[in-house]
Symmetry: C2
Amino acid sequence: MGQFAEQTGLRLGETGIYEGEIHPGWDVLENANGGYLMSMLGRAALLDSGRPDIISLSSHFLSPGRPGPVTATTTTLKHGKRFATTRVDLTGPDRLVLSGTVITGDLRDGEGPTLIDRSAPEMPAPLDCPRTVADPGGLFPPPFMDKIEQRLHPDDAAGATGEPRVRGWFRLLDGERIDTTAAVLASDFLPPTVFNTDLPVGWVPTVQMTVHFRMRPTTEWLLVDSVTHFVQNGTFEIDADLYDESGELVAQSRQLLLIARP
Amino acid sequence: MGQFAEQTGLRLGETGIYEGEIHPGWDVLENANGGYLMSMLGRAALLDSGRPDIISLSSHFLSPGRPGPVTATTTTLKHGKRFATTRVDLTGPDRLVLSGTVITGDLRDGEGPTLIDRSAPEMPAPLDCPRTVADPGGLFPPPFMDKIEQRLHPDDAAGATGEPRVRGWFRLLDGERIDTTAAVLASDFLPPTVFNTDLPVGWVPTVQMTVHFRMRPTTEWLLVDSVTHFVQNGTFEIDADLYDESGELVAQSRQLLLIARP
């Protein structure tokens, strides 16, 4: 088992509730990365439904995820022929951390016409892009950057564009395969788009996030293209498109965040 | 009270559960419009939290909403200083119709820097756009088109672009004011984008939909700009940006749908 699968792993406890652990090193100031927590939410739904893929995951962030034991309580809302819908509450020792609803199914079942008018961004090959490494003892880049391999577009790594857009490659360590659970992590791993602009850099909490899958990921690397169009009235959105190495769309995510106050 | 407020109204029943009714005329073949059902979900959360505005609403569609009585069961997940988070299950006589999570708050509280790089589409004035009228006895345009006033961009009304994009004005009847509850309806009211392309026209069920509010609506009309970038593997997304009459962003929505099979 790879490190990511292990550190998001859940086991069915005696009471019928899944048990797991927020592992150390995924947090900033004891606040675990949102993508990491959502991956556990997705894993609970897959275990509950017995389906192979996440189709859609929507999640609300209710309190910080601190390192330590968590439980995932699942409620089956629908067990349909094509999709299952599962509600999952991820709870820490004293309170609800994350609540979400996850649709699961088999992404290989999809068929139909194709009409596409957007392309993956032009990127140098992954190994020609600089790797983001954690700042030891610092906060940015955060410690969990060492848990995966992230390589940003050189212009974005240098903060050279001034635009609220960040493009980067993502893979797991040691050849661990990216499934839909890991792709949820990928969708929330890049530095926030607005850090590449003149806006204040600071804590930008996610209020709500949704990821829709459109194809099962099969390649070693995923390319994530994240962009913001509207910063206004204290909030902004980050839309991310996730592509595989051949440029095919794997997933789309959108999150609503609060802007850092100066 | 306006017609829309009346037909999405809820009253607190003796058991602590909200009671309402899916009114006739909002359905196609006994399947109520998704935006209409989501408006009821939002209203239940507003009543539960006592906050004035929907901030974010995400919803899963589980079974058809048939005309008749419904109940809305609310669970408060968080009652924070700025936002409340409420889970709502909308249930018909025999089964769960819609399940969602709604963040409520006060949109006037937002403040912060502004950075915007997308504009409202160029549109003729509302009354210079053709009004969509229900096809009496037919299915498209559906009967609920007479419940509001919708005026499409002339090119989109004529199906002249061939592009998966539909732009239209939306207002309520008889001068009823658009609040966030009504804007949720607006976000899901336009004909599906793909009907303007060569793809098969047919039933395109929504799997999941999320609406994020960015400003309180204050104008009589809202302009909805809906677009699709990826039709593939049996699914497509519709992203809609909602603007007020001055071109300021009010809300963004995204839904995942199944493509019609030929």
